[in-house]
């Protein structure tokens, strides 16, 4: 029953990403994470020189910053920036940017907090490193909650 509930609340975008990882044998999951890392879009120019608009994800070992926008229709957009020398962290950020952007506030807030544990990276990446992604998701959800228009 619990699993079914998770199924129904996990947005299609994040479910697809999870399935992509789980379909691969473990060593190849790192390559997929690297692909996500390379796909992380640059943060919009309006954030340049506005460090105060970005939130640092302290749970990550590398300097990664996120920003959340919620538009008038309560749709979420997430942006992130992390150095090239930190591809693992960039990969985590890229998964969440792709998975959360475009969702409604309610859909995004329904994403299970333990989503990072469900994508099959615990052994390939190590739980310690994966906790950085959990922190990133928690901070994104906190910002979404604070920025939502409806209540």
């Amino acid at each position: 029953m619990i699993e079914r509930m998770t199924e129904t609340t996990l947005p299609a975008s994040l479910a697809e990403i999870r399935d992509e990882f789980l379909e691969l044998p473990e060593p190849e999951r790192l390559q997929l994470l690297l692909e996500f890392s390379n796909e992380l879009p640059a943060i919009p120019a309006r954030y340049e020189g506005h460090q105060e608009l970005l939130e640092q994800v302290l749970e990550c070992q590398s300097p990664v910053f996120i920003a959340i926008e919620v538009d008038d229709d309560d749709r979420v957009a997430m942006f992130a920036t992390a150095p090239r020398e930190a591809p693992t962290t960039r990969g985590f950020a890229s998964i969440l940017v792709q998975g959360l952007s475009g969702l409604t506030v309610d859909e995004a807030l329904a994403v299970p907090d333990d989503y990072p544990d469900s994508i099959g990276l615990r052994r390939a990446v190590s739980p310690l490193r994966l906790s950085g992604m959990t922190g990133m998701l928690a901070r994104a959800k906190r910002q979404i909650r604070a920025k939502r228009h409806s209540s």
Binding site: L30, Q31, L33, L34, S37, L58, E59, C60, Q61, S62, P63, R84, E85, A86, P87, T88, T89, G91, R123, A124, V125, S126, L128, R129, S131, G132, G135
Partner: protein, 301 residues
């Protein structure tokens, strides 16, 4: 088969064991030579995949050198399997390099040393210096033929200190290589690093604060012998013949300092306390000092 030492650097010649380091130039000229295996060991588990020294294999500290269940390193069987799968033989010359000024490379070198792998060296300046010098990097996967690395049990008695060893050691030199903020107790993890699991902040009584990065020169390599002597012998007061223990948060930054003390300055009895602050700062009833002064050995009754 072992590869000759790098004797090209006047800086290396001053060190106690000049053969423990190689320059980028020396390594580039020998890539692919039989008996030489290049190992990359990084903090970031994916960095190797973004580009590595041609022919280098990756050894990951967290997913490969650590036991997945117990907080310990792999055992002799696990290490033999790991090195066999990487295509490393017991008598190969292993040159390790990595990100973050070789933190994890030094950590891997220390673990290799626990298993008595004799010829293991560091690339001075690590990954960043290699790239800064414009040397080759490739994303081509490395294929090495599997070897039969022998099962050798790990010897923790000489190079590794456990918590009880540190308690018994109090009164002898201890070097805390963490940041000043971690040392004086204002935080439990390095600035910009996550707070990860120590319940108390401060340092082990009598430990001197010598942050690891003080051993690093501007080019990312190790400082010359005379500068290291000034820091560790004159300033921190270390002298030959004394037993020394270095620690940090989980033992990676202190591996870097351990390498400096043991191989570059030639102190004979240097151990790394890998339990470090994440163990000491959460252990029940161990003595802790806060503030910038080293503090005193607590009275024993």
């Amino acid at each position: 088969m072992t590869v000759e030492f790098d004797t090209s650097s006047p800086k290396f010649a001053e060190y106690a064991e000049p053969g423990r380091l190689v320059t980028g130039e020396w390594l580039e000229a020998r890539l692919g030579q039989p008996g030489l295996v290049v190992v990359e060991s990084d903090e970031d588990v994916l960095l190797y995949e973004t580009g590595h020294i041609p022919g280098a294999v990756k050894v990951d500290w967290h997913t490969e050198l650590n036991d997945p269940v117990v907080r310990d390193y792999v055992d002799g069987k696990g290490f033999a399997e790991l090195l066999s799968s990487k295509g490393i033989s017991r008598d190969d010359t292993v040159v390790i390099y990595g990100d973050k000024n070789n933190w994890w490379a030094a950590y891997a070198l220390w673990v290799f040393s626990l298993f008595g792998h004799e010829d293991v060296r560091l690339l001075d300046g690590g990954r960043d210096k290699w790239i800064a010098e414009g040397r080759p990097i490739t994303t081509e996967p490395t294929v090495r033929e599997r070897t039969e690395y022998p099962v050798v049990e790990r010897d923790d008695s000489v190079l590794r200190a456990y918590k009880d060893d540190v308690l018994a050691h109090l009164g002898n030199p201890l070097i805390d290589v963490r940041s000043p903020e971690e040392y004086n107790g204002s935080r439990t993890s390095a600035p910009a690093y996550p707070e990860e699991g120590a319940l108390r902040a401060g340092h082990i009584p009598t430990a001197k604060s010598v942050p690891w990065a003080r051993a690093v020169a501007e080019d990312g390599g190790f400082k010359p012998r005379a500068e290291l002597d000034a820091i560790y012998r004159e300033e921190a007061g270390l002298s030959d013949g004394e037993p020394i223990i270095a620690y940090c948060r989980i033992g990676e930054r202190s591996s870097h300092t351990w390498f400096v003390l043991k191989h570059l300055l030639g102190f004979e009895n240097v151990r790394n306390y890998d339990g470090s602050w994440t163990e000491w700062g959460s252990a029940v009833r161990v003595p802790i000092v806060t503030g910038d002064a080293p503090g005193e050995v607590p009275g024993r009754s």
